[in-house]
Symmetry: C2
Subunit: 491 residues, 2 copies
């Protein structure tokens, strides 16, 4: 207990200080909402207060937040949510019949027919059934059991829960978790929080961020010297790197996981966001089952999905699910117990998820509008993916892999030694220095590559492709000009 003096009176100081708080929490880092975003929020306030800047608004391209970027909600989804919130509207003939039908079905499944009641901790049963049917359809008929579906508060919640189950041991026996570099920093943050060991494997930037089993093996063997690697996490389509894994590669990964006795975690939240020609989303589950019973009856896996991405982009509702496969029944009982402590995922998010997995059908009145809205969003994203690659690759010193899927570009930037030295002088890592300067000069908020991990000596940033096309063009050109200016300044 530290002895301090306040107004001459000895005081014991705070109960809770940086020195005696949870050390794991201190190790947590989450760049997507880190210092650069805090500065962006500050600048926004300064703009509001009339402070003169070389720009009139801050564009937050740091996060995959579709609605914040101006994307309109899908009408059908919001109609049903309004009906669920205020069921008196079921009498209103302004709402289409299929929206009313969905709302009635969801309300019927809620305690007291209200989305204000707690649901089962695993999620509303009929929603889990609809999720299972959605998965079956997606995977060409491979069966899915609603008992293996756990609804969640966004995918993040399910990923953290699954990691928590898997972590045990001390010292060299501590659970190691393999994650890609670059990675989505939820993973490194959760591992720090849980005190698990991060085991990094590198994606191959020169081969469009592809995953190579030889690299997985190298990483695993190195890790076995100091921890007990038991989990392999894959993000497909990739975040922040935008690659879409080939079927062959998924098969290789599954074979590797089986050989090396690893639990597979497949983060598939961008499954509907695939743009590049020749690319297709293959679910880990489908590939697993197509590899035959030797695999499909043994490899333990969890797959994650979310309502925050795809065409709907409903981040604020915090909806999501995971499907678990081949989990030991006793462990599954523990999982069910664990999720019950938080009572249930938000019910509006569960309702939304139900609509996402069970959208209007061709014979229903909302079908045409729904398909039109959905198609426009996805076609726009595909166009923006192409545009981003094109414009960035014209800039000397920026190299950019194609955005095959997901919602981000992760271009490599060449920084001179002079720029690197200057950053060191300012006490910043070089890509943070670069992004901060971009923010101050152009009002564009990106996330430095160091927040996701990158090979030493390389520098990147992550930018979402979500701004409306015309605004995206402006952003891309502003970054390009900035890059040239920056290069010149530090040449």
């Amino acid at each position: 207990m530290s002895q301090q003096t306040v107004n001459g009176v000895p005081s014991r100081g705070k109960v809770l200080t940086l020195d005696n708080m949870n050390p794991n929490v201190k190790r947590v880092e989450y760049a997507v909402r880190g210092p650069i975003v805090q500065r962006a929020v500050q600048i926004e306030k300064e703009l509001k207060e009339g402070v003169k800047k070389p720009f009139s608004e801050v564009i937050k391209a740091n996060i995959g937040d579709a609605h914040a970027m101006g994307q309109k909600p899908i009408t059908f989804l919001r109609q049903v949510l309004a009906l669920c919130s205020y069921p008196e509207l079921l009498e209103d003939n302004k709402f289409p019949e299929d929206a009313k039908k969905r709302a009635k079905r969801i309300l019927q499944a809620c305690g007291g027919h209200s989305i204000g009641a707690y649901s089962a901790s695993q999620g509303i049963e009929c929603v889990r059934q609809d999720v299972a049917r959605y998965i079956e359809k997606r995977d060409g008929g491979i069966s899915s059991n609603p008992d293996n579906i756990y609804l969640s508060t966004g995918a993040s919640d399910a990923i953290v829960t699954m990691l928590k189950l898997l972590v045990c041991g001390e010292g060299r026996d501590r659970t190691g978790v393999m994650i890609s570099i670059p990675q989505y920093p939820l993973y490194s943050a959760a591992l720090a929080d849980l005190g698990a060991v991060q085991v990094s494997y590198y994606l191959d930037e020169d081969k469009c961020w592809s995953l190579d089993v030889a690299e997985l093996r190298r990483s695993l063997n190195a890790a076995r010297q100091h921890c007990n690697p038991r989990v392999l996490c894959i993000i497909n389509p990739g975040n922040p790197t935008g690659q879409v894994q080939s079927r062959q590669c998924i098969e290789d990964v599954i074979r590797f996981a089986k050989e090396e006795h690893l639990f597979l975690m497949a983060d598939e939240v961008y499954q509907d966001n695939v743009y590049a020609e020749g690319c297709k989303f293959h679910s880990f589950k489908k590939v697993l089952f197509e590899m035959g019973p030797e695999y499909s009856s043994t490899v333990e896996m969890a797959s994650f999905h979310s309502t925050s991405k795809c065409y709907m982009g409903e981040c604020g509702f915090r909806g999501g699910y995971m499907e678990i496969i081949n989990m030991d029944p006793e462990v599954k009982a523990q999982l069910t117990k664990l999720v019950s402590v938080r009572l249930c995922p938000p019910v509006p998010g569960q309702a939304l998820l139900d609509l996402v997995v069970n959208p209007p059908q061709p014979d229903e009145p909302s079908y045409t509008t729904f398909m039109k809205e959905r198609t426009v969003v996805l076609a726009d994203l595909a166009e923006k993916a192409r545009l981003t690659e094109q414009i960035f690759n014209k800039v000397p010193g920026i190299t950019c892999n194609p955005v095959q899927g997901a919602m981000y570009t992760f271009p490599r930037i060449t920084l001179s030694q002079k720029a690197i030295d200057k950053a060191k002088e300012e006490g910043q890592v070089p890509d943070m220095f670069y992004c901060m300067k971009l923010l101050e000069e152009e009002g564009i908020c990106l996330v430095p590559g160091s927040g996701f991990g990158q090979r030493e000596g390389t520098f990147h940033f992550r930018m979402t492709i979500l701004p409306p096309t015309e605004k995206l063009k402006v952003v891309l050109h502003k970054i390009s000009e900035f890059h040239l200016r920056f290069t010149q300044e530090f040449s």
Copy 2:
């Protein structure tokens, strides 16, 4: 790695088993949704399938889930939520102007004017401002800073986050957390999960579950032999025990916390649920500030509130907040970082919270209806609280303290040695045996007192008083009859 044989082929067994999963998770227990509730769900399915039972429905009095018990949502809240979900309804003249005004204000504060955008991780700024104003009004003008408000996914989320910050050390230095017995099992579950040490202090059943500082001191001194107690948790009004703390007692607790250098966590989610004559809710913050700067500028505290209880009972939305007081600024920065990893609390829940802290005012069109609905709910609850105490106390072998506040009764039941022996024979603790038998015979689902903790040799159950009055009467009489039958059977 265990070697097993599957179809004659040696197999390494599961990657993840009960033996090698997170041991802390195994220690988690959460009775409110434990085995008895699982059996209740099973019985409901059996009833649906036509299995004959001595009852036609299962009444789940295990959890404070108002809407599931038939309580209707408050019109104003749901109107605004519908408007926020589907802003096209803002054109509809069926909605009152104040509802529209609230919805517009909330949407204005959302990214892209959509509740589908992520909010700031700490919560939407204007909602935090409204929360701060609500607290100021509640506490007679004592100032509240929106920067100290963190919105959350229900109160549970905030409580776990706060506990997580506070836990550190190993062995005898491990953080100890003082919780009341009986307690709400979120606390024991979170402590098990975090590997913290539970330090139990007993409420005095003979004095209407009051809290005695001498007992706090006894518990603290005993705990100091084996851990480092740093946190004192209080639930007021009490769950599961329904007592409302006196102002004097709160002052004593605060003085104790200061003397003993403890961080205070005040769970005040039932602050609007006070029924007994002469009882009044006093917030810890208000009392703290009334004790003068010696206290108000030093004692570190977090207070929790929720949208799930009070008059609205909107559990499914998972809304809530915490206010932190006197927290070290460096620790606060760590807290802000930690909550950012989960991106943000569900935005519909944030919107709902905004309405709860900023309800219709006397000069607004929704005021009359709102007040009527609110008053009816609270008056009904007060009536049900009285009824419950009255009926139970007539039954020989049941003793029941007045339900001064919150939503539960926690009566003591006398069980004969014969019943205790029979339970042991069945491998159950005696009050679980009692509650299981009640469930099988009467279809009423309660939670055994052992799930909350109780003095050794005493037995209780927790029952919510939420069923509609007529149904509550039936439940109370059924339990009474069951108790007499049970007593006779094991006499």
